[in-house]
Symmetry: none
Subunit: 446 residues, 2 copies
Amino acid sequence: MTETSETVRTVAILSTGDEVVQGRIVDTNAAYIADRMARLGLDVVVQFTVGDYPERLEWAWRTALERADVIISTGGLGPTADDLTNETLGRVAGVKLVLDEEQADRIRRLFQSLGRPMPDNNLRQAMLPEGAVVVPNGLGTAPGYRLSIPVGARSPVAVVLPGVPRELKPMLEESVEPWLAARLGDGRSVVSRTFQTFGMSESAVDEAVADLIDPAEGRVAFRASFPEISVRLTVIGEEGEARERLRILGDRIAERLGPAVYAEGADTKMEAVVGDLLRSRKLHLTTAESCTGGLIGSRVTDVPGSSDYYAGGVVAYSNHLKEHLLGVSKTTLAMFGAVSEETACEMASGARKAAGADIAVATTGIAGPGGGTPENPVGTVAIALASAGTNGDELVLSKMYRLWGTRDWVKILTSQVALDWVRRHVLGLDPLDSNFGRRTGRRARG
Amino acid sequence: MTETSETVRTVAILSTGDEVVQGRIVDTNAAYIADRMARLGLDVVVQFTVGDYPERLEWAWRTALERADVIISTGGLGPTADDLTNETLGRVAGVKLVLDEEQADRIRRLFQSLGRPMPDNNLRQAMLPEGAVVVPNGLGTAPGYRLSIPVGARSPVAVVLPGVPRELKPMLEESVEPWLAARLGDGRSVVSRTFQTFGMSESAVDEAVADLIDPAEGRVAFRASFPEISVRLTVIGEEGEARERLRILGDRIAERLGPAVYAEGADTKMEAVVGDLLRSRKLHLTTAESCTGGLIGSRVTDVPGSSDYYAGGVVAYSNHLKEHLLGVSKTTLAMFGAVSEETACEMASGARKAAGADIAVATTGIAGPGGGTPENPVGTVAIALASAGTNGDELVLSKMYRLWGTRDWVKILTSQVALDWVRRHVLGLDPLDSNFGRRTGRRARG
């Protein structure tokens, strides 16, 4: 069976699994895939979710094949008996399952390299419908594949991917999207630029950008992916012209949003931007975390090579550790409390000294749900940044914020503000300019 | 038209809206509704998502009405031209839209109470298909409703709700669920138990449990939510009998899986289990993290009230901090290297001393992608646990692991193994029994 060379215009997305259809997990895969397809200018006509039942899966596949040129499915490729995607597609396409020796070998080698015996049922993952073209999985045992399935005069294509997000994302972006991009037809190009912003609300970003772009020239879409808001500009047209228009309109957006834009590019994280800045300026960072509990350190070290600029730091959750490892004075803690700019400043200073770093950032606050008081309700957070001044002295900035949301939100938002402080500081911008519920701001020289 | 009094067994969920089908927002409504239906013992046969197109909506409704006894839809009830649910249902049911005067009055009053003029198009929201039974919306303008729609000899019921989560949730829970609960029929109950496991692969868990449960007696489903695997047992029958069967079969699964089960209950996290154990035994924990970079601290402090048992710790990413804050000796670092059981042991000991804690857990390893060597490839991780011995001395355990995957996986897996060590230690189980690529294990008394 050969693959279609037809133009692809419509896509259906099929999520499988009892855990999804019964609502035990939220299906983020479907939204992710739909968003990627929309970026290619493709029309997502329907998303389906069905459980692990042969009849329901078969019905869903047949229905989807009627409705779209390409059907992308996730899930059902695991080694266990309730993983039914391969059998179902074999039945729907009217072909038998055959062992893909190359994939079988790869799975065997994967287990060998881990020094673990391979359970027999893992070989089921290499039993693919005849005619399947493998979509390589670099991170897991289950191979994905494409399979062309004749339906009357049409040849819609099933694209089968595993349900694990970290496996399916590179498979979609590195294998499936280039294949799709070659089938969009007639010189039409869809190009886009994405700006990552932090520090403005979604409606503030919307208002700032609203009058900039004529809808006939480009389309602006916002995506709030807490704590960031991304702004995506999409332009459709003949390739050269579209790219030029994209450049001009995109620059206009970037200028309007100013320092709230911390990166261009989809999915660029604040910690990666901060890391690049620190490395390029040969600066070293340390952290002194109370309410974030290690989250800033963990985010900083999510970036490969972060040991080049991050020494580590102290998670000073108790006052004991604030005193003993960071040198915060008993008097400060007694007079101003653990959640105060004064304590945050001493934490930052102490961490900077202990680590011999250029920059230290400190957090102390009330993440909730307990611990709030009338003066310091849940969400009250002090942030401080200590850095080397010009004459060997130290510059310390601090500010109290009143943040909002659940415990995890307060932690994430605090870590994001702290990292944004480092970014702004290194860029020579004023960290105190972030607009999250400021109460006070001060500068000190220690 | 009168409503069905038929027994309800199957449900379809229909989400509408371009923003959902194009992936600009993740559809959490569908998962929420599915979970509520599963709790009622109803079978969710399919979830659909379609955009705001008359033909697609009509197709989705007709398809859903064929497949289920009740179809719950969200979205498409707003005042603007792309809100098409009422028109679509009128067409599908073959009835005309009529103004519901009571709802029209309610909408007018809502605007009055806000002191705002009512845009004319808001009255569209009160134009409901003839025969609709209103589901009151206490928080927004759009009324919901139920509508029985004959399909051959059947009378499936459309349940129409707005897409705003804070409006739809009380409508579902306060109006729709009681209506459904009266239609479940003949004392049938669906009951389930969920076990959270760590330390066995999905296929190993599957193999361990495979022969235990006769499919006629209960259904076992696995969910791999890295780094955990959950095992859910579902039993259907008359309530008392089903509960008793669930107890017996569930205990059989728990016994077979042994200490790999760290919790019973859906979505219970390892850090919460460790927190409960530490609190109940009045033990204090500290952390000394190198390759996890603060992730263990962050996970521990994700749990509300964790300051009761967590003092904080040190993120000792650099050797400098390992020496200066944790007292790891230069000699150890030089002789054995930063990634060694010896260094991990001294990190744990040093942290325990610095924090005055009962238990310290330490991690040091190579998270990758760079930094691997032939002897210590990426994924090589040493973990150590220091605790008070019986005579005031200190017991230190350590082990080298060879983990796998990308940087974030190595970090997550290491943090999970470290937390599992604390759990096993507090429970009097042997931490060295985890089965992740063990190379060596040793015990020392310092």
